[in-house]
């Protein structure tokens, strides 16, 4: 595995392939499709580094992020998206949500 993230975040490289996904639709699909234990492992793997990652990214121009920086942003976005599953529902899906699913029709670029 090469370095796909900014320097100083090598601990998070292992999550890039599965979770550094550029659209919310892909991130939500990953939350639903990955085994629940993987979702929890990802959350637990991200959590100790998240505050440092936010501080690092805050030092950059949000409208001119490099490819490595965008991957780090996408990992944090995935962490947010799985946090409800891990912290509230204890399962991938929202309980009682049945087949309900929202299509994303507009999403700001990063």
């Amino acid at each position: 595995m090469g370095t796909q993230l900014p320097e100083g975040f090598s601990e998070l490289e292992q999550w890039v392939d599965d979770w550094a996904l550029p659209t919310r639709a892909e991130r939500y699909r990953a939350r639903l499709d990955r085994p629940y234990d993987d979702v929890v492992a990802f959350y637990d793997g991200m959590a100790p580094h998240a505050e440092r990652a936010i501080a690092y990214l805050d030092g950059l121009d949000i409208n001119d992020l490099g490819a490595e920086d965008k991957r780090l942003m996408h990992l944090l976005c995935s962490m947010i998206l799985v946090s409800y599953a891990v912290n509230i529902f204890k399962q991938n899906r929202i309980p009682d949500s049945g087949a309900a699913f929202f299509e994303m029709v507009a999403e700001p670029a990063l």
Partner: protein
């Protein structure tokens, strides 16, 4: 009463009794399950009311356009901005042989872009940005064409506070046939809503849009977000997995504000206080606890904790002066709610009936563009929280609709905090009745 509840309580009495015309009796929901009512409602409400079809940001420059396929085959329209910045809406139908003029790849999908003229893909007729024909292929081969009257049929269109409204009533200027000009949009909105235009919507261009089909009548979906009775049950896990604790966390019923200005209405909602600024590195040990996530990213369901500056708050917000104000939800009759949040962003919820049993539900969130990574991530938390809550509401609507359809029960009971539901169904029924009796029909 818990300390949160004691802090927010006002001791105000009931709201419903302020509106004696609405009564306090039980209601039935035949209006949400009857095929016959649905057909009448479509004519009386959706073919005659101002309907919001999008924001002006979608027409970002001269020559911009977008199409809308309004669900339930209500209409297929094109909305444009011409070179003089006039905004037009017209039906997406060629005057030659009825082909859909503006589409890309898939005729049923919406499209958007920028151009100087629309060319029909069938025989090359061209239309200006005002929908008027400006080129007919081999024009001399036709018989007695009056080119000045050929156009894509116009639709009434007005813009207010950056929201584009259309009205499908027959007889827009230039159309043939009898005219039935609707009341001007501003008259329709009235004093209860016009004050919203002081709000700086134009600063909030960071847009997230969602859409879903719900297997339930559209009015039941409106009902589900008109009251604050359901959160400890539908959304209990977000508040506290123990329902008895969740019940104690929600604000007391008299801490909300309701205002009815027919046909529109307003509910104001209290919200949690903003988290104090946090020193770098002080988010604390990671935990599997959503409160830690909210602290880490400095945001939650009620918005970001680092609130962008958009100038002073317009007077018309929080007009009921509730404590710890969270948001105002303005219901613009018949099918859109504009929810303005204390933390300087807004959400619109739009409901488009397809059949008596299904509708399309659109949620659009708008923020001030983030200045840095943590503001962007905070917005992601707000978006994701909103959608997690909405997903729970969606399935409840499907459950309600399927149960109502059995007609095993026909009378239902509304409490004081369900006042807006009582008003909403009353206005819809009255509108349908007026149309059917011809009172509202003018030449």
């Amino acid at each position: 009463m818990t300390s949160i509840q004691a802090k927010l309580a006002t001791g105000r009495g009931k709201f419903t009794t302020d509106y004696p015309d609405l009564g306090t009796g039980p209601v039935n929901y035949e209006d949400s399950i009857s095929e016959e009512f649905f057909a009448a409602e479509r004519k009386a409400v959706f073919e005659r009311s101002w309907l919001c079809v999008g924001r002006m940001e979608r027409l970002s420059r001269k020559g911009s356009y977008f199409t809308r396929e309004l669900p339930g085959r209500l209409a297929s329209i094109v909305i444009t901005r011409d070179l003089d910045d006039n905004v037009y809406a017209f039906h997406n139908v060629c005057a030659h042989r009825g082909n859909k003029v503006v589409w890309q790849e898939h005729p049923q999908q919406e499209s958007a872009g920028s151009c100087r003229a629309f060319a029909c893909k069938y025989h090359g007729w061209r239309y200006g940005l005002d929908g008027v024909v400006n080129h007919i292929t081999n024009e001399e081969e036709f018989f007695d064409l009056d080119k000045s009257k050929l156009r894509m049929p116009p639709v009434h269109c007005e813009v207010w506070a950056g929201f584009i409204f259309i009205n499908l009533a027959a007889g827009a200027s230039g159309a043939t046939g009898e005219s039935s000009v609707p009341v001007p949009l501003r008259t329709f909105l009235g004093e209860g809503l016009l004050g919203i235009e002081a709000y700086p919507f134009h600063l909030m261009t960071q847009h997230y849009g969602f859409s879903t089909q719900i297997k339930g009548n559209w009015k039941l979906a409106v009902d589900s977000v008109c009251e604050w009775y359901h959160p400890p049950y539908v959304h209990g896990r977000f508040i506290d997995p123990d329902v008895s604790k969740a019940e104690k966390m929600v604000p007391p019923v008299d801490s909300y504000h309701y205002d009815l200005f027919r046909p529109h209405m307003l509910t104001s909602v209290p919200g949690p206080p903003i988290l104090p600024p946090r020193a770098p590195g002080s988010a604390g040990e990671p935990r599997q606890d959503q409160r830690w996530i909210y602290k880490l990213f400095r945001a939650g369901l009620f918005g970001p904790d680092d609130v962008p500056d958009i100038g002073p708050m317009p007077d018309f917000l929080n007009r009921g002066d509730i404590a710890s104000w969270g948001n105002d939800q303005f219901w613009v009759f018949p099918n859109i709610s504009i929810q303005i949040w204390a933390r300087n962003y807004y959400i619109t919820y739009t409901y488009w009936p397809q059949t008596v049993d299904t509708h399309i539900y659109e949620i659009d969130l708008y923020f001030v563009p983030p200045a840095n990574a943590h503001e962007r991530l905070a917005q992601e938390v707000v978006v994701d929280s909103t959608i997690e809550f909405a997903m729970q509401d969606v399935n409840t609507i499907e459950a309600t609709h399927s149960a109502l359809k059995t007609r095993a029960q026909n009378t239902f009971h509304l409490s004081d905090q369900e006042l807006l539901i009582r008003q909403f169904h009353t206005v819809i029924r009255d509108t349908v009745a007026a149309y059917q009796s011809g009172e509202d029909r003018e030449s």
